[in-house]
């Protein structure tokens, strides 16, 4: 039988709407894909699904009832991994829960469930890394600004952490890979899109104090190292090289 490709806009609501449609219309051999990632195949149907908050909410509470808080966290984190094809694995696990009417999120003997658990851990690790590796620079208009390029789409996950922590300063964390950011304006945090070319004028953006504190931080990073114990392998394991670009202490 032919499979049905459901194409959605990439949002979490969109994905859940697809799940809704599959059940509502009893679709056969469904496959869920982001519209932007779809390459058409012969012998398959495709259909664009429009995100619908109400439908998404119904599916989400259905999942929550079965998988509880731990389970929905794993489902959401896994979704944010943006790994190609992850939607189909997610659907298999959601279907397993609906079919058996059991909380199967700890059934690690099932390879799909185990994959979700492992992926959620990876996304969680990236979230934690961003909470650690964001380096704000103070701009002249007194906004603390940081660029990131995380492996997974973790901005939605780190929002709370930074909003609670930096309640008395304006800040922006901008994901250059996904071209959107968070802006906290002393009142609330909003999603923003900036069209900018950082390379030309970066040095004019920041305060003189900024340069001074970056130097002090770099000095501190060097002084706190114990030469007799140097262990480069361990260092790189903890701070993988792909993150160095945005770490002030790793700049020449």
């Amino acid at each position: 039988m032919e499979s049905t490709h459901l194409l959605y806009d990439g949002s979490f609501d969109g994905f859940l709407t697809c799940v809704f449609e599959i059940y509502e219309r009893k679709l056969n051999k469904p496959s869920i894909k982001k519209e932007s990632e779809f390459q058409s195949e012969f012998f398959s149907e495709k259909e664009v699904i429009i995100s619908d908050q109400k439908k998404a909410q119904r599916v989400w509470s259905g999942i929550e009832k079965l998988l509880k808080s731990k389970g929905i966290r794993i489902v959401y984190y896994t979704f944010l991994s943006e790994i190609i094809g992850i939607e189909d694995i997610l659907f298999k696990v959601i279907k397993l829960a609906f079919d058996t009417q059991r909380n199967i999120i700890s059934d690690y003997g099932n390879p799909h469930v185990l994959l979700l658990s492992k992926t959620a851990i990876k996304v969680g690790r990236e979230k934690h890394r961003m909470e650690a590796f964001v380096r704000f620079q103070q701009t002249k208009d007194n906004i603390y600004f940081a660029n990131i390029e995380p492996d997974f789409n973790v901005l939605p996950l780190i929002n709370n952490h930074f909003t609670r922590r930096y309640a008395d300063q304006k800040w922006i964390i901008y994901d250059l890979k996904r071209k959107y950011g968070l802006f906290y304006n002393l009142d609330k945090t909003e999603i923003i899109h900036i069209d900018f070319n950082i390379k030309n004028s970066k040095n004019d953006w920041f305060t003189l104090d900024e340069k001074a504190y970056e130097t002090l931080w770099k000095d501190y990073f060097e002084s706190t190292n114990i030469e007799e114990r140097v262990n480069t392998k361990l260092h790189v394991q903890h701070v993988p090289k792909r993150y160095w670009k945005y770490l002030s202490e790793k700049q020449p």
């Binding site: 922590r165 002090l216 000095d219 706190t224 190292n225 114990r229 903890h238």
Partner: protein
């Protein structure tokens, strides 16, 4: 204040503070409720790692490295000819706040050399914490050093502003201390530790009645011991740790392999290698005590006063107790599973969850993350194949050591060729 002067001070006073290994920023619960700066929410964050692979979570500095004491093992000792410096209270506050705002750190770890006397020094440390909390509205993490011999009043005040307090035992035995730090008195270490412990108990009981009781050192207290400076045995070290954990409810004991900083004849020579492997084995034992339900006497006793360096302490224990194995992973209880070499607490919890759905076989265990190359000799599962041979402890040790890829393996093969 001049930038270059601050820069010089920071270099001197961070360099002098780096031998304090603790950098934990976890276990506190200070919410940002006042629209102020920062929060500490239980989970620590390592913002970067030094090139020696240690976590950098806090701005770790001394207030000053002037010191009236002359402890042989310490780089800041009075007789050492080094540059001295001292921060002003405001300078430390400014550095902390500005580093924190840039997301470099979770907070401040402030220690100090002893100038004038214990109370005078402790008072300055408390002043920094007080300023950060009351004037700068700072809710980040603060770790203050308890100065040995400081008065109860100051220790009480310290705990009101700090998340964690620590006093370093440094030398695990009384005799060693007498030899290497003749100015210091063993009881002076114990005094602030006792005071903090009692305050924490009091805080916890008052908190039950009055919810608004001001927090007292919510992340508890810790200490550090130097390893390999005074010829102590592993048994002496771990029994001291065990005593401290039980008697003073310490959150952590840190083990710091001695880094030669002196030509003093009482100490290992400059250039002697830092005992990192021994340090690692001590940490493993510490974990077995705190998370794996082991009694210290099972790991170290008069028959085994030192830890094996070539295998970890759990494997070492298992080899001495082969009669307790193999275990059926689909039936064994949690505490016994945690004793299987190759099974960490994470794997144990995964096994407990997964086996409610089905009986697990080797494939399942492997994909869950169990280190089968060690564990397979100690467990059975839902499979017809398992290690049926009865190995002796020494045979088994030989097989496991040869099949494993320990990062320390080189050290041993290197040693062997020396003698062959």
């Amino acid at each position: 204040m001049s930038f270059e002067r601050i820069r010089e001070k920071l270099n001197i006073l961070a360099d002098a503070a780096k031998y304090d290994l603790s950098c934990a920023s976890s276990g506190s619960n200070r919410n940002n409720t006042n629209k102020g700066l920062g929060n500490s929410t239980g989970m620590g964050i390592c913002h970067t790692y030094t090139r020696d692979g240690r976590c950098v979570s806090l701005l770790k500095i001394l207030l000053t490295n002037h010191c009236i004491f002359d402890c042989a093992y310490c780089v800041t000792r009075k007789s050492n000819d080094i540059k001295r410096a001292a921060f002003k209270v405001q300078e430390v506050a400014d550095l902390t706040i500005n580093f924190y705002r840039r997301n470099y750190i979770e907070g401040l770890f402030l220690s100090s050399g002893i100038f004038k006397n214990a109370d005078y020094t402790m008072e300055r440390l408390v002043a920094v914490a007080k300023k950060l909390r009351l004037e700068e509205n700072f809710n980040g993490y603060i770790h203050l050093k308890s100065i040995p011999g400081a008065s109860d009043e100051l220790m009480r005040e310290a705990g009101l502003y700090a998340d964690r307090l620590s006093v370093n035992i440094e030398i695990p035995t009384k005799e060693g201390l007498k030899q290497l730090a003749p100015d210091k008195n063993h009881d002076d270490f114990i005094k602030p530790m006792k005071k903090v412990k009692n305050e924490i108990i009091q805080y916890k009981s008052e908190k039950k009645i009055i919810k608004s009781t001001p927090k007292y050192a919510p992340a508890g207290q810790s200490t550090q011991m130097i390893i390999g400076a005074s010829g102590e045995s592993d048994m002496q070290i771990m029994y001291t740790s065990n005593y401290l954990y039980n008697k003073f409810d310490l959150k952590r004991v840190y083990y710091s392999g001695y880094i030669p900083v002196s030509h003093d004849k009482r100490l290992p020579m400059i250039g002697t290698e830092v005992p990192v492997l021994r340090e690692n084995r001590l940490y493993q034992s510490d974990w077995l005590l705190r998370f794996y339900g082991f009694d210290v006497r099972e790991i170290l006793n008069s028959k085994h006063p030192n830890l094996d360096l070539d295998i970890d302490p759990k494997l070492s224990w298992a080899l001495r107790n082969l009669n307790q194995f193999p275990l059926d992973v689909n039936k064994a209880d949690k505490m016994m599973l945690a004793r299987v070499p190759g099974l960490g607490i994470t794997s144990v919890n995964k096994i407990l969850s997964a086996r409610r759905f089905r009986n697990l076989n080797w494939e399942h265990l492997k994909s869950i993350g169990v280190k089968l190359n060690r564990a397979k000799y100690f467990i059975t599962c839902n499979s017809r194949y398992f290690e049926t041979k009865d190995y002796s402890a020494s045979q088994l040790k030989h097989i496991i050591v040869n099949s494993s890829n320990s990062k320390y393996k080189k050290a041993f093969t290197g040693q062997l060729t020396l003698f062959s």
